[in-house]
Assembly symmetry: C3
Homo-oligomer: 130 residues x 3
Amino acid sequence: MPNFTAFVILLAVILYFWTGFRVGQARGKFKISAPATTGSPDFERVFRVQMNMLEWMPIFLPAIWLAAIYVSDIGAALLGLVWIAGRVLYMRGYSAAAEKRETGFFMQAIAAGLLWLAALVGVLVSMLHP
Amino acid sequence: MPNFTAFVILLAVILYFWTGFRVGQARGKFKISAPATTGSPDFERVFRVQMNMLEWMPIFLPAIWLAAIYVSDIGAALLGLVWIAGRVLYMRGYSAAAEKRETGFFMQAIAAGLLWLAALVGVLVSMLHP
Amino acid sequence: MPNFTAFVILLAVILYFWTGFRVGQARGKFKISAPATTGSPDFERVFRVQMNMLEWMPIFLPAIWLAAIYVSDIGAALLGLVWIAGRVLYMRGYSAAAEKRETGFFMQAIAAGLLWLAALVGVLVSMLHP
């Protein structure tokens, strides 16, 4: 089993949970009651941090798992840590101002792209040399 | 293969599909045409039921699968059933009024948290005693 | 390992990434700055294409993976290609007009439903004849 990657996935899941927890806090702070998700740009940026991480989970999770299975557990886990670091930067930047989200965004996008590429190469090699 | 957990995952997926189906029905009932997702609090609560379950799927799915693989298929499946029951309560409560969503929410949050914790312990034990 | 299905999952992930990339482009074209996600129906339809694919990923990914493991790698991969074709039709239709999204929607819904059903039958057979 790809133990290191499983551990990194659980770290990513808890960070993602945290982005949702912050939305609950921001609801109180900026007085945005459920079910509304708009009404204050400060609230909306915190909400979009969670939503953007949600949007990337169906890219990150299949890519890291297939990269771990087909190529390298430790390699996938290390790229997963870079992805998590990019998500933390994105969270901190975007919570402050919309234009400060870019560094973290590109960092996590590159890490996810490399995981996807590694998985693709691994799968193709397995298909050609079963 | 973790058969019981696979079965419970398929149950969770069909419940999640159902929360989306209800959004389509609510579009007709409350006259909210696509692509709009706002305009009526009654519609927005039904929409938020689906969105909230979507938000929790990237927590639930990796946690239950890793808990099943690393710890116990039947244990993970039983916690998965508690999670599903919490999601049903949340759906019924939130559809009626925003403040009635809390019991189901905490029930599913605790079940998902226990699955995540079980997976973490299982992965750490595997890393330390390969 | 279910190589063909892993390959199709990676195709689905890149198409999904593309639906998000188009949202970034549409932000510029229709002058909708982050964190806003409303303000122009033309932007909102492009945004909803991404969101709808995001909504279906937690149905598609578990269903295709379990169908591949429990029933047939090639069968799951072929249904996965139909799903992807339905998503492409949906993207092209919805980007033009809200009512043009229906053909692609039903195509992908039927493919995802068959994957779910195949997975369910496969899991039940495994539970009854271990």
